[in-house]
Each structure stands twice: as C-alpha cells, then as structure tokens.
Symmetry: D2
Subunit: 370 residues, 4 copies
Amino acid sequence: MVGGGVGSFIGNVHRLSSRLDGNYDLVAGAFSSTAKKSLQSGLKLGIEKKRIYSNYKEMAKIESLREDKIEAVAIVTPNNSHSEIAIEFLKKNIHVICDKPLTATIAQAKKLASVAKKSKALLAITYNYSGYPLVHQAKEMVSNGSLGKIRFVEVKYATDYMATPVEKTKLKQAVWRTDPKQAGIGGCILDIGTHAYHLCKFITGLKAIEVSADLHTFVSGRKVDDHAQVQINLEKNAKAILWASQIAIGNENSLSIRVYGTRGSIEWCQESPNQLWFTKLNSTKQLITRMGKGSMLDLAKYSRVPAGMPEGYIEAFANIYSEIAIKINKINTTSTVFPNIEDGIDGMKFVETCIKSSNMKSKWTKLKKL
Amino acid sequence: MVGGGVGSFIGNVHRLSSRLDGNYDLVAGAFSSTAKKSLQSGLKLGIEKKRIYSNYKEMAKIESLREDKIEAVAIVTPNNSHSEIAIEFLKKNIHVICDKPLTATIAQAKKLASVAKKSKALLAITYNYSGYPLVHQAKEMVSNGSLGKIRFVEVKYATDYMATPVEKTKLKQAVWRTDPKQAGIGGCILDIGTHAYHLCKFITGLKAIEVSADLHTFVSGRKVDDHAQVQINLEKNAKAILWASQIAIGNENSLSIRVYGTRGSIEWCQESPNQLWFTKLNSTKQLITRMGKGSMLDLAKYSRVPAGMPEGYIEAFANIYSEIAIKINKINTTSTVFPNIEDGIDGMKFVETCIKSSNMKSKWTKLKKL
Amino acid sequence: MVGGGVGSFIGNVHRLSSRLDGNYDLVAGAFSSTAKKSLQSGLKLGIEKKRIYSNYKEMAKIESLREDKIEAVAIVTPNNSHSEIAIEFLKKNIHVICDKPLTATIAQAKKLASVAKKSKALLAITYNYSGYPLVHQAKEMVSNGSLGKIRFVEVKYATDYMATPVEKTKLKQAVWRTDPKQAGIGGCILDIGTHAYHLCKFITGLKAIEVSADLHTFVSGRKVDDHAQVQINLEKNAKAILWASQIAIGNENSLSIRVYGTRGSIEWCQESPNQLWFTKLNSTKQLITRMGKGSMLDLAKYSRVPAGMPEGYIEAFANIYSEIAIKINKINTTSTVFPNIEDGIDGMKFVETCIKSSNMKSKWTKLKKL
Amino acid sequence: MVGGGVGSFIGNVHRLSSRLDGNYDLVAGAFSSTAKKSLQSGLKLGIEKKRIYSNYKEMAKIESLREDKIEAVAIVTPNNSHSEIAIEFLKKNIHVICDKPLTATIAQAKKLASVAKKSKALLAITYNYSGYPLVHQAKEMVSNGSLGKIRFVEVKYATDYMATPVEKTKLKQAVWRTDPKQAGIGGCILDIGTHAYHLCKFITGLKAIEVSADLHTFVSGRKVDDHAQVQINLEKNAKAILWASQIAIGNENSLSIRVYGTRGSIEWCQESPNQLWFTKLNSTKQLITRMGKGSMLDLAKYSRVPAGMPEGYIEAFANIYSEIAIKINKINTTSTVFPNIEDGIDGMKFVETCIKSSNMKSKWTKLKKL
C-alpha cells in the first residue's frame, strides 16, 4: 500500500475490503509522506519492519527484487501523485489498484495510459460503487432489455460535509481536496462527480457524447468547485442529468440513480444498497432485494449473506478487490468485472469536458478521444 | 364553470375543491363545446336548466344581467381558450378562477393581462400544489431564514402516463395536450413544468433570471415535448435544476422539491404531502408533519384534520379556492395567499424562455419582462 | 346533526365528509349540551334559526313532523349518549349515522339493537378507516384468495396524545374520553381499539372467537386504560395480535395492519393510505397504489382523483357517507358497503370481552353472542 | 472452529466476521460431522492439514497440547451439540464463541453454566444483532434517560422462509431447525425469538419477569412451532409484546424494535441498521444515522466508515468478535460489551417459560432462576 497511514479513511477502507474475503495479505507499504510516519503506521498495522518503506520509489524498487515480492499495490494518496506512483509499479510489472480519480490532470492520465499499455500488470481503479450487488443486477437488467431502450438517466451524488469552509479548520480530507495542486483539475466534479458518471456508464453501458455543464463554488474562498450540474447526451440518443454537490445539507453520501427506458425503469440509492426498485411499463412497482426473490442468480457471486441481512459499503468495495484477485490469479479469465484504466480515463475526459463547457457558459461540448 | 363536463377530471376536481369548505355553490355553467353535451352535464350536476348555457359568451352575458348572478367562474377548458373566456368574464367584472397554464401563447397572456388590469374582478390561477399546508410551511421557513441564504433548488415533476403514444388511443386528456393548437406553445414544459417552476418560486420567493433548457420528445410521432430538462439561475445567485417528464415510467405524479441553503435544507414530495423533511446544518434530519410538532401555528388555517390523519390533493386544491373566497368576500384583505395573474404570466415567460433556449442548443437565455 | 358544535373536531369531520360528494345538506341540528351554545354553533354553520334545536329530543320531535324533515341524523356526542339519541331518531324512522363506538355500555348496545331491529330506518356507524379505497382492495384480495388461507394478522393503532395527563389540562377531547361516565366501559380499547378490531374484521372477514387481553393504564391518575395488548383467536384458526396505545410517543395516528396468508401478505398503514404492499409467496414485494397499476377496477367507485394525487382521511370518511347515501336513496340495493349496527355490536362485544379477560389475568375468554 | 464446513451459512459468517478487523486467524477446525468432509472443508479454507480434525474432542485434546494452540474456538453446529462441545473446550481453558441459542435444553444449559463458572476461559454467545452500532446507541439512550422511564416495548422478528414445508425439500438449515432432536425445546421461539428477546433486554436493560405466550405451528406436519406470540411483563413495570414468525410472507429478516418511555421513543429495524428514529416528547421525529449528527461519540468504536456509507450484518457480527478479542487480550478490562453466558441462559429460560405458558393456554408464568 502507498499512502493510507493510520487515521486515513480510505486507506483503512482498502485494508478492510482487501481482507474481508481472505484474498489479500497486507505485507508492505510506504504509508505516509515522511519516513517516520510511514514507519509508525506500518508498525501499528503489524507490517514487518523491513517492508515498511520511506517512499514509494524505494518500495517499488526493493519489493520488485524480492522473491516473495508483492503481487499488487494499492495507491491511496491524494490525486496528484496517483500517476507517478502507478507508473513506478507498473514498470516493475506489479499490479496497481488505484483509488479514484485516475489522476489529477489529463496530461498525467495520458502518460499513465501509455505506460499501462506496455506493462504486463493490471491497473484497476476503485470506482467502488459499481461493486454493489444490485448495481450489477441493474446493469444486467439494462443489458438484457428489461428496461427496453434507455431514454433518460438521473444520477446524483449529494453530500454536505463541505457546506461550510471546513478546509479552514484543517480537516485533512477537505484540505487536499480543495487544493488544486493536490486535487487536480476539479473539486466536486472530480471527487464525486466521477463516481456518479461511472455509475451511470456502468449500469447503462452508455458513454457521454457531449455535456452542458455548470460548475459552481458556493463556499466563498474555496478554490475549487463544490457543486456541479451537468446535462449529458449519452450514446444512442439517451439523455442524462447528473448533479453532484458537497454543500447539499442533509445528505451524507447520497448517490442515487434512476434509469428510464421504453419498457421499464429502475431506481437505486447507495444509502439503501440492498434494495432496487423496478417498474415495468403498466405494472406495479416491485422491490427487488439483494439475494431475495427477483434477484439474479449471479448475485450470489457478489454476496456473502442472504436476503434481509444487509451488506454495505465495505462489502461492495471488497467485491472490486475480489474480482481483481480472481483476475490476477487467472490472468486469462474474462468473466471478472471491475473498473479499469479505460474507466479511469473516461472519468478524466468527462471532468475535463465539464470544465470546458462550464467555462463556455454551459455550451454543449463533445468529449474527445484521449 | 366553463368546461368540466361530466367525465372531465379537472372539472370534477374544481367542483370537489370548491364545495369542500362550503364557500361555493355551483349554480351555472357552460360545460361543454356543444349545447347538447353542456345541457346533459349541467342536468347531471343538478344545475337549474336555465342556467345551463350553450357557450361561455351566452353565459357571461346572461349571468351578468341576473340579480343573483354568479360571483366567480371556474375555467377548466383546454389551454388555448383560457384567454378569451377569462376576458369575457373579467369584462363583466366576474371573478375568474382559471386552470393552469394561464394561456396557450404569450400573445394571449399579454392580452389577458391588459384586460385583467382594468377589471374590478380578480383573476386567480390554480397552481394547486402551492395549496398544500406544508408547502406554506416550507415557504415560511425560507422566508424566516431557517435555511439561511438559498443556494440550490432541485425540483422535478415526473409522470409516466405518456410513456407510450397514448394520444393515438384517443385518451381525451392526452389528445388535446399533445395537439399544439389546443395545448399551446409547449407540451410537458407547459403542462407540468410550469407547476414545478411555480412551486420553486412560491417556496423560495426567487424568480428565474435565465435558463438553459433542453426540451425533448421521446415518443416518436408526438408533436410536442414530453420531457424537459432545465438549469436555472435564480435571483440572488441561487441555482436550480428543474426537470419534468411525462415518460418517466414508475412515476405517477411525482412532484418533489429540495431546497438547500447555507443553514439548512428542506425536502417535500407531493405524493407524501403531510411530511416535510428539515435538516439544520450540523443537526439530525427532522420529520415535520402537518399539524404535528414542528408545524407552524398558521398551518391550522390550511388544515381540516389533526396530525396523523392524511390530507391530500383535494384539500390542497380547496385551500386555493378558500383563500380566493376570503379575498372575494373581504376585497381589501391582504393576508390571503393564492396564485394570481402575475404567477400565470411568470409561468408563461418561463415556458417561452425554455423553448427559446432549447432551440438555441441550451444557450443561457434571460427571461424578459412581458 | 346532534353534537358537533363549532370547535368540535369530529363534528367538523362529519360535516366535511358529508358535503364533499354533494350528497348531503346540513339543515338542522342540536349542536351542544346547552340551548345557547347550540344556537351559536348553528348560526355559525348557516343553519336556519328555527331548525337549530335546544336538545335532541326537541329536534327529533319537531323534525319528524316537518314535511321537509331531515332524512338522516349524524350523532357526534360523547359515547354515553349515543344510545338514547339514536333510539329517539330511529323511533321516528330517521336514519342514524352514529360515530363510534356504538354505545358506552353493553346494556345500551342491547337496548339500541332491539330498537334498531324494529325501525324502518338505517343505523350506520362511522368506522371510517374502512372507507379507504385500498382497504376495500385489501378486503377484496383476501376474499378472492390472493393471500390464500389467512394465518396471522398484526393490527395496531398507536397514538401519543395522551402520553401525559392531558385530561388535567382540560383538553376537551381528553377529558370526556378519560371519564368513565361519558366514555363508557373502556378507555383506549374502546376509543381506538375498536377501530383496529373493525379494520381486521373488515379486511379478513374473520371475527374474534376468543381473546387474551392485557389492558393497562400508564399515566398515573387516569381512570381508564390508555394501552391495550390483545391476542386474538379468529375464526378459521387464524391468529391476531392487536395493540392500541395512547401513550406511544412518536405516533400521531398510526393505524396499520399486516395480513399473512398461505399464499401472500398485505400491509397497509393509515398514514400512507394510498399505498398497499403486496407480496405473493416466492415473489418480489409489490407496491399497489390507489388507482394505479395493480389497483382493482372497483376502486374508481371510492376514488375522486387519479393515482399519484393523494386522497386522505376526509375522502375515506366521505366514502362511508356516500355509501350510506346510496343505500338511503335506493333502499333495496345490496351493493353498498358501510359499517352497520352489527359492526357496532361486534365492537362492543370485543371491548367487553377484552376487559373481562384482562381482569382475569389475560385468561383466554370467548366472545358471547349478545 | 467446530462445524461450519464449506457451504454452511453461519460458519462463513463467523469466518468473515472474525477476519474483518484483523483480530483472528482461522488455524484449526473440526468442520463437519464426518472426518472426510471436515478434511475437505478445512483444505478449501486453507487450514494446515494436521490441524484439520475429525471431531471436536480430538481437536480440543490435541490443540490444548500445542504450544501455539488456538486461543478461542467458534462453535457453529446445530443447537443440541453446543453444550458438550463448549464444555470440552472450556475444560481446556480455551475461550468459546458459541452461536445462539446457548443449548438445546435447559438441562444442557445448567450443565454448561456450571462448567463455565469453573473455567478460566470465556464463553461468549453471538446474539449478533446487539453488535449493530445504533443498537449500542439505543441502549445508551435508554440508560442515560433520553426516553424517560420505559413503558412499553414492541419487538418482532418476522421471516418467511419456512412459510411452506421446506424441511421436506431437504433444505439443510430447515431440516435440523425443525427436528426437535437437533434444534431442542423450541422452533421459531428458540431460533429467532431468543434474538428478539435478547435485543429487547440489551437495549432496555430490563429482563422478563413473566410471560403469557402462544406458540403455534402453522405448517402442517412441522414438528416444532413456527410462530410465537408473547406478552411480557418486564422489570420496573414495563410491558412488551414480542412476536416471531417464520411464516410471515414478505419478510426476509425483519427484526425490529420500538421502545416507548415517558419522555421519548426510539425505533430501529435490522434491515435499515444505519438509521435510528428518535422522538422526544412534544418534538418532531429525528433520524439519527450511524456516525452522523446525533450519533454518540462512542459509535466510532463500533464503526469502520463514516455516515452515509452503509454498514451491515457482517460488520455488526464483527463487532461482537472484536469486543471478545479485546476482552481476551486484556482479560481485566470491563469496558467490552458482548453477549455472555448469562445472556445465553436468560434466552433459554425465556424460551422454556414461553413454552410452559403456551402449554397452559397462555397463562402468565414467571421466569425462574436457573
């Protein structure tokens, strides 16, 4: 693991998620920006002292020479360092599991993509919300035609922890997320907007063709956007509204999606992840529950407990990790599903284009090929 | 009443709503486009035969000459006739209660406005959703600062009854609503988009300054829009997303609004109208119920039964009627709240500007003064 | 109307409900216990002075002699006077619409029943919750076998307005309800327990055979029970749990029922009356909405507005009134559904037997024939 | 681990839960009733071959002699073997983590209790639902007086997987649960009724004094009860209704509790475990979320991710395991909270008394000391 010292939220999530299904052991790391802090964290995490590194370069170099070297590395640092760290490990053919977004800038993304192409190792990106079992079911229902042709998607990601200038209180997470140098080209649109976009793309299989965006900063003094409204024209003439906000008081982590087709609709919300609403044209609304009646057989693969026993965020995150483990162990299988570098690049292109559009008074702007 | 023959949905709603609180008696009408049908309907409704008229002109003329003439007339015809009928009665100084939207075109709205200005009679418009007690509470909470400065509004009106080409099955309501000659300048944006806009304006007290709209027709062969996505810059630097759809399968009459301010937020949905969610910054979410704890004293004025006993659509509609009755009876009072001709005109301007913007690829377009 | 002076909650409910569908005109009344107050209320209600009576006896006598006499009377007084008032009008062959419970004591119920039997007039009792459209649908679904054989019913009526000794604050409704002389043999069990029992019987068609009850008074100093827990053996080997409480903080008027059969289950709650949950064995849960998909055709009879536009308490109450009106107008029809004297007597027997059982340490006790 | 071969539901739950927080390694086991199956399961689980045992006696004997012997054993076999297995390990001073219920009979419970008393090792029992963070908050809110004096508790555990005679289809879990020899003295009351009782006791701190129970078997041919209705007089004059059912179609794993006091109430449902409803007397209902505003500081101890990111069943189960680990590691600490042998015995007494009462036509029956 690179980053994720003790006290880090996302580092701990990666550790819990990788451990849950017994597919990963955490054996080495460069956990912090200073050697001392890295050592402290590593020891607390029970890592053997000599595999606690001062920095990621040292780690990549030394680990790659060990016989029992790490198979994969999780990168859980601020956005602007993702690229250089990932490149270092990919070059050593060590698999990379990178937190989202892929990078902080488009230039970084391009560079990383070109390295990844040549590497024998995988690059996965933890758009973790696509790990929820019922999100897989939603994807399958779209793909098997249960909804007919997709017309309209509403996806939103509402949170409120930045409704006030929390970065001034030195809340660590808020500080780097609102610092363009560490966070990259966007604020809210990059931090959570990309999650929403990935969820839409994952479920519908439709990419954005063009966007009309309005990014805004509500909290005065903040250096990045904290609110994003985007209209999207998706492939196959479908339309979408996406909004993401960090100032929407009363929302903790409210990512939700509604997909409307010619023959039916679905509705899913991350805060009630064991439920999927489905309405067929001219029928009553149905409540599909994870592993309950109406749940696809395949969901067993992404579930640990029966219907009625809630699974949550860690389990969904663990599903991403476990799919990656399967892929790593049987490198030729094609049945695993997890977000990869293409998804990471799509996310960056989406953000870049939203920013462009917003800077041109919401002019409809096409997403370009990288 | 003009229009609203037996079998008409909205005609019956006006009758039920006006009768509920005992403030109105239905004594005369021109209920249909033919004299015969008008007579049939009038008799079924128990109207005295000689006060059942063949057409609205006859009605306005004869009634205005009676000693016991009608005090007010409800207009519940398709949009394109609102203007001429309202003008006829206003000229006779008979109060007009007009179904929404005000008119079918801007030209009609202008003409009507100029007549209304000169008339001694009132013109009210039944944007009925603003009649719900908790919508009044929401308005009051915004106005008394409970939410702080308003930042963002999400308002949507999702329905599904036009998800297929129902107008071809001769469903009466769908037929005229999809016929530009009868409906007017818009489809979905005019029929339900205006309700959503009025609700936003009513609660926040903020008008739209400019819009970036994308109107779309999903059902092939349909002559008007059946889906509208609008970004709005409101007064005082607030932003809004409004969408209205007639093809959103799984939604019956799902009008909902969320208002986010610097100090709190509220959320209300027409399908659960006795509940209002309120979150103060840094506090738990609270469920305010009509006439329950947390409900304003003033709500008693708009309520008939205590907390826990649901009130609904008819009661909210009746609140509009009763406010109008109070106004009519004591012409100088200022404490009544009901949508008036200004609101009707605002709605028409909003629709017109959305159409303009949509025709210019969602270009941000300012609402002009009439 | 007898009782229901201005300021009375239930009197106003009867007035609104009878007026809504245009089937009744309020033309006479003895609105209060004193002649003066009755007059004041009557005048405020717009009743002709000479038809405002000092007491119910005078009213029954004089009205019955008029050519344009009242066809029906609504009795909305405290429980202990229901019987004598109803008898007076039934003897004059004037239809009686009596608020629940039927009487205050079993002796009164017996006497009333014997008079009613001989009268040409109807006696209806406003167990109003059975007037909700989806309660009719639930009844139909049980009766057409959608649920299979009924196994278990959970019905509860939770309120909280008596969680503290409100009767000491002179809250009028609480005062008489906690005074055994005015309320009768029970407190909570009589006031709201009977509503719950009626709802169970109405939907399932199953009467109680025997009960094991535990009535309790939580608020010290209160003279009647304010909390009732009852286990019921229903006909056809079905079982039920019924509880009613006036001290359940956080509940406004939370009457809900769940019916479990061998092939499916339903769930309905009075506070969301436009929704009925239905689960077929081995299927997903379905949300049936009033007049929506999955709604029976017959529901149109009990509905005024389409799906998605909420109806509520007044509308359900009005359904009872309108069914009675139909019955009164076409006395031989059999298709009307409203609670009658049998239902009133069943309610009294249920209460009496619960009290007996509770007094014998919850001994299972059979309901006797009257 | 004893029991829990590959394919076992609860065995896997114990493995996931013990692994999640990194406090346990699974190193030995007797996973099945036959040596061959035990070996197969052990190997699949990655256990060293020589620590995969043919039976629990062998395991207890050999492990207790190893220098690196197991510190604790999880017992996840059918109820009737819990006692003898636990005794074997307790005698070797190996900690026991036993699935619920404690034993199959009262005699077994007594014997186990006497052994446990003498052992230096712990015995914990996985009443896992008390591991949910908001259940801890509920307990704390009762104990700090937020609800005032407790008056009434409603607790229910509704499931439907035994609504038909599934034991005849050889569904493994249903087979042993409906076989009195393996399951013990009760069916539904023992299997899930004890969970409900423990939850009530855990949150309120009040034990049952006496019960009036009605146990029933709805599915014909079934040898144990599949539905239980219990009225409870709790300590301090509080009352409770508890029902548990395995035939309540439409319920997956619906364990819920409502606690009503003189000053407030709370409501929690296992299927939405990140939400706790709280109503203070004369206030609006509040939604407390895990780690959100209104959440106790102490909840951090039982949480892994912030508010808005759902935790579920595995996490709650893991909380029990982690509390036990803390206790094992620092044997003198008193701040850990997990269900112990007292709770196990209380559960058995509750079941025994319910059965007695039910056999005496619901006669109120006191719980005796063991």
